[in-house]
Amino acid sequence: MRKKLNSIEEGSLLLSGNEAVARGAWESGVHFAAAYPGTPSTEILEVIGEEYEEIDAQWAPNEKVGMEVIAGASFGGARVLTAMKHVGLNVAADPLFTLSYIGATGGIVIVSADDPGMHSSQNEQDNRLMGKAAKVVVLEPSNSQEAKDIVGEGLKISEDFDTPVLLRLTTRICHSKSMVKIGPRREVSIKGYVGDIKKRVPIPAHARLMHSRVEKRLEDISAWGSECTLNRIETGDPSLGIITSGISYQYVKEVSPEASVLKIGISNPLPWNLIEKFLSMVERVVFVEENEPYLEENIKARFLIQADGKNIIPIEGELNPEIVRNAVHPGTSKEITYSEIKLPPRPPALCPGCPHRGAFYCLSKLGGSSTGDIGCYTLGMMPPHNALETTVCMGASIGVLNGIEKAVGREGMGKLVAAIGESTFVHSGITGLIDMVYNGNTGTVMIMDNSLTAMTGGQQNPTTGKNLRGEPAPVLDLEKIVAACGVKHIAVVDPHDLKEMERILGEEMERDELSVIITRRPCIMTYRPKKISVAELDSEKCIGCGLCMKLGCPAISWDGEKPEISRLLCWPNCDMCVQVCPVGAISKDMEGLQ
């Protein structure tokens, strides 16, 4: 049996950046952590929940609430951490910008996990810019060891300089593993809550004084940052000086081992004295950074230097060693022996057995579509369903449907509904629904309740009856919430029952009044198959009509004339293909599987 990580106090472990941040929080005495899941940040709280019981940890309904709760815990003198994906920081920006003025009593580390390359995100925003706008300290580690250590350093900076600290990770830091030297937990006492109106109530008279302190704080940290080890010069060949941070540093060391390097660990405020020193040491300066020209613009504006940066390094997408090699040392790229082969892409799809499939199959069959949201069900946009037409941000499906009705009226809206998962609805869909009721909209909102925050890998939320640590928790009653918002027509349906799903969807789309359909069936990730059961095709009976292909099930492929059902992929407690076959050619033993 594997030992829990909080029982291991020394040695080296191969840890992901996320695991390392969790470890760093534990070692440096963090008392409390709260977060809403979001790729690539999710594992930080998961690992704290699973491995480090000394930290009180919980899922928040959204990032703003998570930020507010850790703010309060810091006011109480506890060391705190919250984590979110980059767009989560937009949700939490309101508390962040003012928390910056208020400062930290117990140390505050806020993890922003950015996603260059958009592996699982809707934009590529660079939250170093958010940190600078909020006037908080921004830290950037370049591997797991630094990610672990920097949590402790960040908490100390936070307490010493009375500031929240933004720990900016990127997907390649979060989800890369490297060796980490670990240590024991160092307990820190909770200072206790002491009311301080001038410090924590930013009415204009107080806030003006706070702002002065913030500006002074930034100057102090910049000066200190030139002396500390988080920013460092690695002296090499003076003819090439590379300024870099985060994962880009590792690519630079890979392809330019001989160069002089200024490695920035504190991206805001920048260590001006150290930068000036580096610029005086080297001839050609190159900025190697992912996404925005953050270091480049700030340093060029301050020192008015000529340097290469975004003219040779792309602003879009992730960097990698090839890109950095071709940009910094053109003509030295590795020989490619085997050329690229043109192949069909392999996009993600709703899992075999996914309950969302039933809802989108019926919506598509009825000629309907949806304004969509953020979750697995965004995949309703894919063929063969093509039944989701917009995605903006968490909760936006409802507001967008509302707005389309404003623009084109009930008639113009046609068979458009809003599609939103239960976790996203709790995160920020409820206010949109209140707006629809308040302002007299007539659309249909489909809350796709699979009782799990699924796309991020399967986390608990207020509707699932469990907390972060898997302990029993009160269940938020969606029907009552929806009714309390003022919705008169509420239907609950199992989307795996295609006939009933289609009937209810058809009825509610026809209705002239606002309605909510809750499609309720647990995510397959929560179902432990009791036995193996696969759908069998009787190819004598099959007429090759292709209706089963309209389910878009990954387990069903088409050989040109007839379907084939994969024994490896078919999911035990799903028989949607049996339900859609018009000639009874597909059969499945479903006994004892529901």
């Binding site: 191969l14 490297s178 690519y251 085997y338 899992c351 492929s557």
Partner: protein, 192 residues
Amino acid sequence: MKSVTNVIICGTGGQGILLASEVLCAAAAHAGNDVKKSEVHGMAQRGGSVSSHVRFGEKIFSPLVEKGSADLILAMEKMEALRWSPYLAPHGKLVSCDLKINPMTVNAGSAEYPDVDSVIKRENLPVKLVPAVEIAEKLGNLRVVNIVLIGAVSPHLPIDIVNWEKAIEERVPPKALEVNLEAFRKGRELFG
């Protein structure tokens, strides 16, 4: 002696790629190497392409393998083997599970699954196809396909068998240990 070994493990979501790369990393670490690995989670889990880069040696900087520099590619699905072939070094080896999983683009009729055998011939790819699914089926556990494949590539990597076995022991649940070790041995016998 070459100081860094570059490996890519690829396939489709749900095939156990992450466990396979965990085992490889642990084995490489037990053999005294610096190790880094990198992969992307999230949407890729929903049946999309998944890949894991593993690098080990004396000192590793980048967690990503560069094109043209993989000593070994282990593919759990054969079209994915073709997708990653530009990463192979001139001397690189490519071992793939002899398994076809249609992407949704093929099921939806908007693309065709390639004739993998003829592409391998045309491009002169150094591919060895392994019947790992059949081997796992004979062992009575389809979930060990990934470990059969790890066994199959193990002779190509500078890691002793004791370190492989130790890595497997650490990474699989006790009740599944015996079948996983057997899967590893069956795979290793293929080219051993």
